[in-house]
Structure formats: structure tokens, C-alpha cells
Symmetry: C2
Subunit: 344 residues, 2 copies
């Protein structure tokens, strides 16, 4: 089959690799029908060191079940399924808590031997991981359903962990697909004021359609001043940080209201950060977030997509075949595309 | 009047200073009847640079109202009051949120021109700040009532911000007076398992009486392993960090359960700390806490002390006159005393 491999920063290739084979009775193999490129794929695209064996790429997928192991009971050959970016058994103590990304049998497709920007995908713990899309679902809904594999529910995770609820003032840092998803999720959870911090007008326009009440294009100290101005100098109850770089973190603690919450879903590209008296502690700010526990949210989000309540697939502004995925990376890196849908 | 001044690390003196005078119509002046030395007073005791003018010390007090400004309406001359370690107007947006330590008119007695280890104290925004103790309250309850000015309610703040509730497993890092208070508060909030990390047996014995179900004397990697062993390798739902030094923070993220909460009330003696994928983010851990919003909790805690439900004043193991306060600092620094009550 063909799969996407990255060999070095900026070096993405589609190549023939062996088809996946079942390795455990709890595995399934799907034929990938929809995949996409994630903002987090751009991190290795920028800084991957030379990797002679190639790194398999992609962690978002919808596909059709082709093979199941002998212990798989909830999936049948021919089912169309959503596969979240992390696999999980959905039965361990952490899964029962809803923290599926910390599953004791779990793992991330990103960087694993099987990844989604490919024709086929091995899904470990398939019963726990994959969720069946009802038969007969309109094909036009597939892009929105694909966002339940990562991007929309990552925005939702930010909003849920941040405690977004009716009447709150929410600031979203980042106008990438996760930031825009966080706007949509915050709106669904009842946020009254949603300030989107971003400077790409075509993106912030979509953000307004998703529910942003204000857009702040300024960054750094100017951006902080602008948000404080919009909030009577009080700051935002909840800041959803959808970038992962230090300037976004600094922005976050600059605009969070005393007693407020910073919820991060941008994978941090730093380990140490300010958390002392002058950043978080002094104003009793809370820092939360982490890898989105997508699996725990899919069942509740699925009907919202199926009945048209939300249309998170609008973050896809391009569609390309697998063969052209290197160009998809380039377009997203150059910010010429917001998020590219891939059809293997 | 006599007041406590610190001139340098380890150099604490009681000296004559001018009596405080009302400066604003919202001020009150109290005659301090009970004060004490706080664990956080030991930070400048260790590292204060030479301060020729002296630094006024102390931020916990009970006292009798001697003078009130013309705008003060809720206090009368002769009332006995609890004064929290921070003053606040109790009316601004942040006070209404319960984040009284971020009051727009607020401030901290610690390091201010008026401080509590003295015969008299100027209380700004006296209506908002001071809480009257019912007339006729038994004198024997005063040590416990004094803890509502800081230490007990700081432990309570850790537990509240951490989300302690029935059935949770809580780990408390630090067997100082705040850590022991956090144990007592966690017990009050219904924690099922309370693991106290500390190595001073006389203190951890009091911790057991306050509600600790387990004591872990080990530190570092050994301490982490021990807590994981006690929690079926899952970690603690909530970690209350009552120290403020980096090793305690590292311990906290080592023992927190995926999806769990670290709540800090030990004033951080660092600004930057690990918060990235391998510490907080990867396991969706939440970091919260800050200066205790003591003022917001006093009304609810007062009846618990008055009716004997809790006896947080047991953290005082010595009582000394103001004249001997330098010895009180020395005893606490040497860990010969847990917390010293001062009678000005």
C-alpha cells in the first residue's frame, strides 16, 4: 500500500510500504477513506532530524473495516468508523475517568508504526478505539465527522477542561483549525463573549461564523492590552490556547482574569514555563489541558454533526489525493491552506 | 508601640515605632491581641537582603477595634475581629468572584507599612477586610480563630481549588502548619484517602489526628514510588502542595493521577517550572492554586470553629510574648516549633 513518510524537516514522500497485518486479537485493519494533515504535523515538518527509515505520518482517519481480530466484537467488516488520534481500550481506570489518552494500553498514531496518511491503518484495541458511523450517513458529512477524530474535539477538549459555560468570557489564542474549533465548541457550551486572537482574516472570518464576537489581531503586549480593553480590564474567564508556542502561553497568562483558567491543547513546544507569583500563582490562575481525550467525546458529538447542529468540517478548505500530500503540507505550512482533507 | 522588624536574613528585632494613624475614612486601627509567625515569614528570614529601614513583619491577626474611619459601618469600637493576611474591599468584581486576594483596592500586609507582629495594626478597607467574632466567644477558641486569618484557610483554599470531594484520593506535600491544615480541610470536604508526605513524626502524628490515612516519609523518586504503590499505580486525584520549593513541585507532578489536579498554596520560590508534555500536559494534569482567598471563606468557617467541628489551632505548639518573637522565628526555622502563637 501507499503511505506517507517524512524523512527530514520539509521532506514528505508517499511510498509503497507493506500492508498492515493483524498483530493482536483486539486489532482491526481499516481502509482509510478520509485523512488529513494536522497543525501538529507541521512541528516535525519544521524540525524533524534526518530519519533514514522515514517517519510514518498522520493520526486522523475515517475508514472502512476490512479485517478484525478474533476478540473484536463491536466492529464488523464493512463498517465505516472514526478513528481517534490515540488508541485506547476504553475499559481501564483512566479511560473510565474519561482520560482516554492516558489509557494503560493506549498510544498515539503520531510517530507509531501505523499511521493514518496511508491507504490502510492498523487500529489497536479496535473495540475501544473506533466508533461506528451509522450506515447510510451522507457522504457530505464525512469531513465534519473526520474532525471528531481530532481537530474539533481538541477544541472541545480545551473548552471542556477550561470549564466554559453560559455567560463566560472566553479568549481563544490561535486562528488555526484547532483555534477555530475551540471557538465553535465554546459557542456550543454557551460562552457569551468569544474573543478570537488571530491575524489571518479569512480564518478569523470563519471564526466569526463559528461564534467569535470579537477578533484581536494584535499580539504580545498590544494583544494583551486589547483583550483587557474589551473586558473592562478584568481579563477573560477562560483562555483556550491552541498554538503551543511560548508567546501564546505568555499571551494566555497576560489576559486571564484573576481566578480564571488557561486551557492548553496546542502541544507545548517547551517544557519549562512561567508559573510563579507574577504569572499564574499571584492571580490564582489555573493551567489545564493536554492531549484531547477525543474518544470520550465522540458519542455525544456524533449526533450534533449528523443533525447539522455543528459543521466543524468547514475548517477544511482544500481536498487532495494522497499522492499530493507533500503539497498539502507545503500549503498548510505557508498558510495558503487552513487544513487539507486527504483522500487516500 | 512595639513592632517586629526584620533587617536582614535572620535578624529580627522588636522596636518602638510610631503608632498607626487613620489614613482613609475606610481604615480601622486594631489593638492586636493574637498574632503568629507564618512559614512564609521564614522565606525572608533565609534570604532578605540588608534592609537598613527594616521590614515590618506579620500578616495574621486577631485584635480589638480601637478606632474606625468615618466610612466604616460594620465595625464598632471594642469589637474583636479576625484580619486576613490580605485586605480587600469585598465589593469589586474580583471580590464578588471570591478572588479577594486580587481585589482592585487590595494588598498584602506582608511587606506593607503596617503589619501584624506588632501591638497595633492599621486595617485598610476595614469593612471589607475584618470579620467580627461574636462577643462572648471563649478565649480558648482564639488560637483556632486566628488560623482563619491565614493558615487553616490556606489549607482549605488548596483543597477547594483542587476540587477535593467525597471519595477522592488526596496527597498533601509538606507537614508544616499549612500542609496539616490542608489535611484537615481535605478531611472536612470528604476525601476518602489522605496521604501526607512529611518526615517529622510529631507533625505527621498531628496530621493523622487531622485525618491523614497514610504518611509517606520518603522524598523524591522514592516518595513518588511510595505514593504510586499506595494508589494502585494510579496516583492521587488531587495533590495539595504546601511547600513552595521546586522539589515539592516535582513531587507533585510525579504523583498526580492522569486528569488530576495539583493545587499549590506554598508561595512558589521559583518562577519557571516544568509544564510541558512530560510533566503536566501529557497526562492532562491541572495546576491551580495561589494566595488563599481567605476573606471569602471566613463566614463559613467561623461556625465550624465556634461549635468545635474543627480545631485548627492545634497547629500552635508554642506561645510567646511579642518581645521574644526573634526566638519564635529561630524555633520555627530550626523546626523545634511547628507554629508559634504571639501575644503582643
Amino acid at each position: 500500500m501507499r503511505a506517507t513518510l517524512m524523512y527530514d524537516a520539509g521532506d514528505v514522500r508517499v511510498e509503497e510500504v507493506p500492508d498492515p497485518v493483524l498483530q493482536a486479537p483486539t486489532d482491526a485493519i481499516i481502509r482509510v477513506t478520509y485523512a488529513c494533515v494536522c497543525g501538529s504535523d507541521l512541528h516535525p515538518y519544521h524540525d524533524l532530524e534526518a530519519t533514514p527509515e522515514g517517519r510514518r505520518m498522520g493520526h486522523e482517519a475515517i475508514g472502512v473495516v476490512e479485517q478484525v481480530g478474533s476478540d473484536v466484537t463491536t466492529l464488523s467488516i464493512g463498517d465505516t468508523v472514526i478513528v481517534p488520534f490515540a488508541w485506547s481500550d476504553n475499559t481501564c481506570a483512566f479511560c473510565r475517568d474519561g482520560i482516554t489518552t492516558s489509557c494503560v494500553h493506549g498510544g498515539f498514531f503520531d510517530g507509531a508504526s501505523s499511521a493514518t496518511q496511508a491507504e490502510k491503518l492498523l487500529v489497536p484495541y479496535a473495540d475501544g478505539t473506533a466508533v461506528v458511523i451509522p450506515a447510510g450517513t451522507d457522504e457530505s458529512l464525512m469531513p465534519s465527522l473526520l474532525t471528531l477524530s481530532d481537530v474539533y474535539l481538541t477544541g472541545h477538549h480545551a473548552a471542556v477542561r477550561g470549564g466554559v459555560e453560559a455567560g463566560k468570557t472566553v479568549a481563544v489564542i490561535g486562528d488555526g483549525a484547532v483555534g477555530l474549533s475551540a471557538v465553535l465548541a465554546a459557542k456550543q457550551l454557551g460562552a457569551e463573549t468569544i474573543i478570537l486572537m488571530g491575524r489571518h482574516e479569512s480564518r478569523t472570518d470563519l471564526g466569526r461564523e463559528f461564534g467569535a464576537t470579537h477578533v484581536v489581531a494584535e499580539r504580545g503586549e498590544e494583544g494583551i492590552a486589547k483583550v483587557l480593553e474589551l473586558t473592562d480590564a478584568e481579563g477573560a474567564h477562560i483562555v483556550l490556547e491552541a498554538v503551543g508556542h511560548m508567546p501564546a502561553y505568555e499571551q494566555a497568562y497576560g489576559i486571564v482574569r484573576p481566578g480564571g483558567v488557561i486551557s492548553r491543547v496546542g502541544v507545548p513546544q517547551y517544557e519549562d514555563a512561567p508559573v510563579g507569583f507574577t504569572s499564574l500563582f499571584g492571580k490564582n490562575a489555573t493551567l489545564t489541558g493536554g492531549p484531547a481525550t477525543v474518544r470520550a467525546y465522540i458519542e455525544a458529538a456524533l449526533p450534533q454533526v449528523l443533525d447539522g447542529t455543528i459543521e466543524p468540517g468547514r475548517v477544511f478548505d482544500r481536498e487532495m489525493p494522497l499522492a499530493e500530500i507533500a503539497e498539502a503540507y507545503r500549503l498548510m505550512d505557508a498558510r495558503e491552506a487552513l487544513k487539507v482533507l486527504i483522500r487516500p
